[in-house]
């Protein structure tokens, strides 16, 4: 069916001119900077690029970032799905303000998230000061990085799952009940399978954001080489120290990974849309 709105849309004249103009602006703005990473990476030969990439610090940073992204995605797929489920199915007091609140991380600057975590969990923080004597120090450790990433990426899973839950036909659930399935069974066999696409998209989005997270991480990680230095922090530190090759090698890997994730996301959403 032809969308009547689309058919009626009036287009600007000078089509060719407009397209050229947009690309002339976008090229130096978006495409050239990313190209610069790869041009720089291969400029002095591939062997130097590989040496820079296989260094102990670079390898650890990449591993840590992927590890954190993996755990963050797992945690948020559970947390996000449950949150979306209760918001779609239950009534409870202050639901509206809470609904706004849980989406807030999208709008808060990440560096503010980092600061607030420090002021809460740090040894002089609101809660941290009571935990510190017990030897529990979540900040400047991997725990702190995970806390920051779960916070920052929380809305992505929620945003992917909630619309699907909201539109899920109640009749399927009712059918399952009439056929004698319990609530848990219904959730497991009826609701979860219909969420598969959304869970996949949400996980990839969370993973990609966690992989590149900088603002909150730089505040809470302590930036310790071989212990708490994630890939973006490695890039920043190496660049500041003037080791531009080392910084660039890891930057190129992060860029490739995000392209890959983006590509998969595009494929998945394209496949789902017509259905």
């Amino acid at each position: 069916m032809i969308n009547p709105l689309q058919a009626a849309r009036v287009r600007l004249p000078w089509r060719g001119l407009l397209i050229t103009m947009v690309f002339l602006v976008l090229f130096p703005l978006l495409i050239m900077p990313i190209g610069a990473i790869f041009v720089f990476a291969t400029r002095d030969g591939l062997s130097r690029f590989i040496t820079a990439l296989t260094g102990e610090g670079a390898q650890f940073a990449l591993r840590l970032s992927l590890f954190v992204a993996l755990i963050t995605s797992l945690l948020n797929s559970v947390l996000g799905t449950l949150t979306a489920y209760i918001f779609a199915n239950y009534r409870f007091p202050a639901k509206r303000p809470l609904g706004i609140l849980i989406n807030l991380p999208v709008a808060i600057p990440t560096v503010v998230v980092g600061t607030s975590l420090l002021l809460l969990w740090g040894p002089i923080g609101l809660v941290g000061r009571y935990l510190d004597p017990l030897g529990f120090r979540p900040m400047f450790a991997i725990t702190g990085i995970l806390l920051a990433h779960v916070f920052v990426t929380f809305p992505y899973m929620l945003g992917a799952v909630k619309p699907v839950l909201d539109e899920l036909e109640v009749t399927y659930e009712e059918a399952a009940y009439t056929m004698g399935a319990g609530r848990l069974k219904t959730f497991w066999y009826v609701i979860l399978p219909s969420l598969r696409g959304a869970l996949f998209t949400g996980t990839l989005l969370t993973f990609a954001h966690s992989l590149g997270e900088f603002g909150a991480t730089v505040m809470v990680s302590g930036n310790l080489r071989l212990r708490t230095q994630t890939a973006p922090l490695y890039i920043f530190s190496q660049f500041e120290a003037g080791n531009i090759e080392a910084a660039n090698a890891v930057a190129a890997v992060l860029a490739i990974l995000s392209f890959a994730i983006f590509f998969i996301l595009l494929r998945v959403t394209e496949r789902e849309e017509p259905a």
Partner: protein, 338 residues
């Protein structure tokens, strides 16, 4: 299993295999460890010079392998990280003022002034670097007053080197003709009108200068000497007649040190003042604090006709409140605002 499911599973398995060292981290590792936070320019000498030497020494004495974890940033950044809980056993500050701050916060409890050389482990004067051939013909801090010169300066908010630079500028304007703080004020206002970029640390400022910004970089002599020794220095160094010796302390962070760790930490701090360690510092462009005679081993050091130290400015607490706060932040910053 469908093809796409197989791809997803393979990706996941690959991911877990690659990140496995992090999952299994901390399991069954009983080697003694030392966590060191240092200010920016120390990264190379500590990581490539001092730590391997100490590791060897400790292995010979105890048969154990020490593990090191390090982090380097601007001195102010390091101080704040430690204050908010970063697990440093030893901190190498760009100046003692940061140690005073951590003492106030209760993070450091001992009195480092009782240590030899007040806890200082090395020093280096503040100089400046110009473009090849010194196209603007600059030779002193006075010369930086003329309009039209672009200065890259580390940021006094986060960088210790920047605070030293402020003291160097103060002394260079105040001492030579006995003009005192009025002369320093006038000179620094002109100089600060020329500052075009603030770098978050001395290293960051250097990187910005390397990227092509500015005519002048105010920094440590070590930054230039280290590269001169390797024939990698493609700028020119200007050594002002009057300038300050920056002095860098290494201090134990009491809050983070357990009684079992204490001997290792103390041995490491003592090691920094041994002749072996001092020689390494000199090799990497720092000047020795224990024996100025060792400085002869690095032929790239310049002679400074009129050096001064922070003690000549009344010590750090006083220099900070009068020069950094009273003069620079409250007056100069206001007056140079366009």
């Amino acid at each position: 299993m469908t093809f796409s499911k197989m791809v997803v599973t393979a990706c996941l398995l690959l991911l877990v295999a690659y990140t496995w060292p992090i999952f299994s981290q901390g399991a069954g590792n009983s080697s003694p460890t030392l966590v060191i936070y240092g200010f920016s320019i120390l990264e190379e000498v500590i990581s490539s010079g001092i730590l391997p030497a100490f590791q060897k020494r400790w292995r010979e004495q105890t048969g154990e392998e020490v593990l090191f974890y390090t982090s380097f940033a601007g001195s102010g950044t390091v101080t704040n990280q430690i204050r908010f809980g970063a697990p440093a056993d030893v901190a190498l500050f760009s100046h003692t003022l940061d140690a005073y701050r951590l003492k106030e916060a209760g993070v450091i409890q001992h009195d480092w002034t009782a240590l030899p050389y007040n806890g200082i482990v090395n020093r280096t004067p503040i100089i400046y670097i110009v473009r090849p051939g010194n196209p603007k013909g600059l030779s002193s801090f006075q010369a930086l007053r003329q309009p039209g010169i672009g200065i890259v300066h580390p940021d006094p908010q986060t960088s210790g080197g920047a605070l030293w630079a402020l003291l160097a500028e103060y002394g260079a304007f105040a001492f030579p003709e006995g003009g005192g703080s009025a002369a320093a004020h006038a000179g620094m206002v002109d100089l600060w009108k020329n500052v075009i970029i603030l770098g978050s640390s001395a290293r960051a400022a250097r990187t910005q200068f390397e990227m092509g910004f500015g005519d002048v970089l105010i920094t440590y002599e070590q930054e230039a000497v280290k590269d001169l020794a390797r024939g990698k220095f493609n700028h020119e160094m200007v050594v002002p007649e009057w300038t300050i010796y920056t002095e860098h302390p290494a201090i134990a962070i009491d809050r983070n040190i357990s009684p079992e760790e204490r001997p290792l930490v103390e041995t490491f701090l003592d090691f920094l003042r041994t002749e072996e360690a001092q020689r390494i510092f000199v090799e990497y462009g720092f000047r020795s604090i224990t024996d100025p005679g060792l400085d002869a081993e690095n032929r790239y050091f310049s002679k400074i006709p009129h050096p001064f130290t922070v003690d000549d400015l009344g010590g750090w607490p006083r220099a900070y409140s009068e020069i950094v706060e009273g003069l620079w932040r409250e007056r100069i910053l206001e007056e140079v605002r366009p």
